[in-house]
C-alpha cells in the first residue's frame, strides 16, 4: 500500500485576506473613549413643592453673562481665582452641619477655613449655584464647572491624605479595582460625604 501524503494547503493568499481585513478595521476604528464631566440632574420637583429656605451665607453664587464674564458673590472674578474662592467658601465651617435623620452632624471638625460667620456653615450645607445666560458659551460653562469640581477634588484629596495617608483619587481607584472591600468603601463614602458636591444649575436668564 502506497502511503498517500496529504497535500499541503496553499496558504500563500492568507496574508492577502488578512491584510484586507486589517485595512478594513484600520479604517473603521475609532479609539477614543468617551469621557466627560459627570453631573447628576435634580429630580423634577412636584407641583406643590416649596423650596426650603436657605440662608444667604450658605450659597456661593456664580454668574456668567453672555460675554463670558464671571460674577462671583457680586464681584467680577477671573477664572483662575475661582477655585481658591470656592475652596474658601466650602471649607469655611462657620457653624453647625445639617441635620440628617434627626441627628445633627455638628460643626465641621476637619475644615481648615476661616470659620467666618458670614460664610458657609458646613461643607454639607454649602451650595454652589451657577447661573448662566442662555447665550453663554458652552466652553466657558464647562470651564467654570471644571474649576468648581477641582475645588472639591482638592478638598477631598486633602482630607483623604490626612486621614488615610492616601489621596482620594487613589482611594477611588483602589475601590474600583476591589469592589468587595468594605473597608475601602467606607473610606470612599466618608470622604465623599464629608465634602459632598452640591453644584446647582439655576435656570438661565434669557
Amino acid at each position: 500500500m502506497a502511503r498517500r501524503e496529504t497535500p499541503e494547503i496553499n496558504a500563500g493568499s492568507m496574508a492577502d485576506i488578512a491584510f484586507l481585513l486589517l485595512i478594513f478595521f484600520l479604517v473603521t476604528t475609532t479609539m477614543d473613549v468617551d469621557s466627560g464631566i459627570s453631573k447628576k440632574l435634580s429630580e423634577k420637583p412636584p407641583k406643590d413643592y416649596v423650596p426650603p429656605v436657605i440662608k444667604e451665607k450658605n450659597i456661593f453664587e456664580v454668574n456668567i453673562n453672555r460675554n463670558n464674564e464671571m460674577l462671583v458673590e457680586g464681584e467680577t472674578m477671573k477664572l483662575g481665582k475661582l477655585k481658591e474662592a470656592a475652596i474658601k467658601f466650602i471649607d469655611n465651617g462657620g457653624g453647625e452641619g445639617k441635620i440628617e435623620d434627626g441627628v445633627s452632624t455638628g460643626p465641621c471638625d476637619y475644615c481648615k477655613g476661616a470659620r467666618s460667620a458670614s460664610s458657609s456653615d458646613h461643607p454639607n450645607k454649602a451650595i454652589i449655584s451657577v447661573q448662566s445666560d442662555r447665550l453663554t458659551e458652552y466652553g466657558m460653562y464647562i470651564k467654570v464647572q471644571n474649576e468648581l469640581l477641582r475645588a472639591y477634588t482638592e478638598l477631598r484629596n486633602r482630607l483623604a491624605l490626612e486621614k488615610y495617608n492616601v489621596s482620594y483619587d487613589q482611594l477611588e481607584e483602589d475601590y474600583k479595582n476591589d469592589q468587595k472591600n468594605e473597608d475601602l468603601k467606607k473610606k470612599v463614602e466618608f470622604v465623599k460625604n464629608s465634602y459632598p458636591q452640591i453644584i446647582s444649575d439655576a435656570e438661565p436668564t434669557s
Partner: protein, 155 residues
C-alpha cells in the same frame, strides 16, 4: 575580470512565511479595539471642551449620545442644532429618544443609563439647558458633559 563576473549570484528570497502571523496579530488588535461609529454626523464634528476633572464612561451600551453643534447643511440655518440618532431634532424629541434608548436595554439596567452630551464649545448654554430640562422630565438623571481630558487648562 570575466572570470569573476560570470558567476551570477542570485539574491535569496526573503522568507515571508511569518508575514501572515504578524498581520493577523495586528488584525486582532484592531478588531478588539474597534468601535464602529453607528451614526454619521449631520452636524459639524463638535470641538469638545477641555477639562481636568473628567470621568470615563463605562459600559458603552448604556450610553446614549446627543450631539449639539452647527448643522453641516447650511439650509438648516446657523443656530445650534441637536442631533439624535442620525437626524436633526428639536429638544421636544429628546423624550422619545430616551424612551427608545431605554427599550433597548433590560429593565434592571435602566437606572445605570447615562446620557452623554457632545456639544461644541461654541454652542450656547441655552440649548444645553433645554435638553437638560427634557432629560429631567423623563427621569434620565445621569448626565455626562463630554469633554477631553487635559492636564491643565489655559485660563
Amino acid at each position: 575580470m570575466s572570470k569573476f563576473g560570470k558567476k551570477k549570484k542570485e539574491m535569496p528570497a526573503v522568507n515571508t512565511a511569518s508575514l501572515p502571523d504578524i498581520v493577523f496579530m495586528l488584525l486582532f488588535f484592531f478588531m478588539v479595539t474597534t468601535t464602529m461609529r453607528e451614526t454619521d454626523l449631520k452636524i459639524e464634528n463638535p470641538v469638545l471642551p477641555n477639562a481636568t476633572e473628567v470621568k470615563k464612561l463605562e459600559h458603552k451600551s448604556l450610553v446614549s449620545t446627543i450631539y449639539v453643534g452647527k448643522a453641516k447643511d447650511k439650509k438648516l440655518g446657523s443656530g445650534d442644532k441637536i442631533q439624535l440618532n442620525d437626524k436633526i431634532a428639536t429638544p421636544n424629541d429628546v423624550t422619545a429618544f430616551i424612551l427608545n434608548e431605554r427599550s433597548k436595554v433590560s429593565e434592571a439596567e435602566v437606572p445605570f443609563m447615562t446620557t452623554s452630551i457632545k456639544a461644541d464649545i461654541k454652542s450656547s448654554v441655552g440649548t444645553i439647558t433645554d435638553i437638560k430640562l427634557k432629560l429631567r422630565d423623563v427621569g434620565a438623571l445621569k448626565l455626562s458633559l463630554s469633554s477631553r481630558k487635559s492636564a491643565e487648562i489655559q485660563q
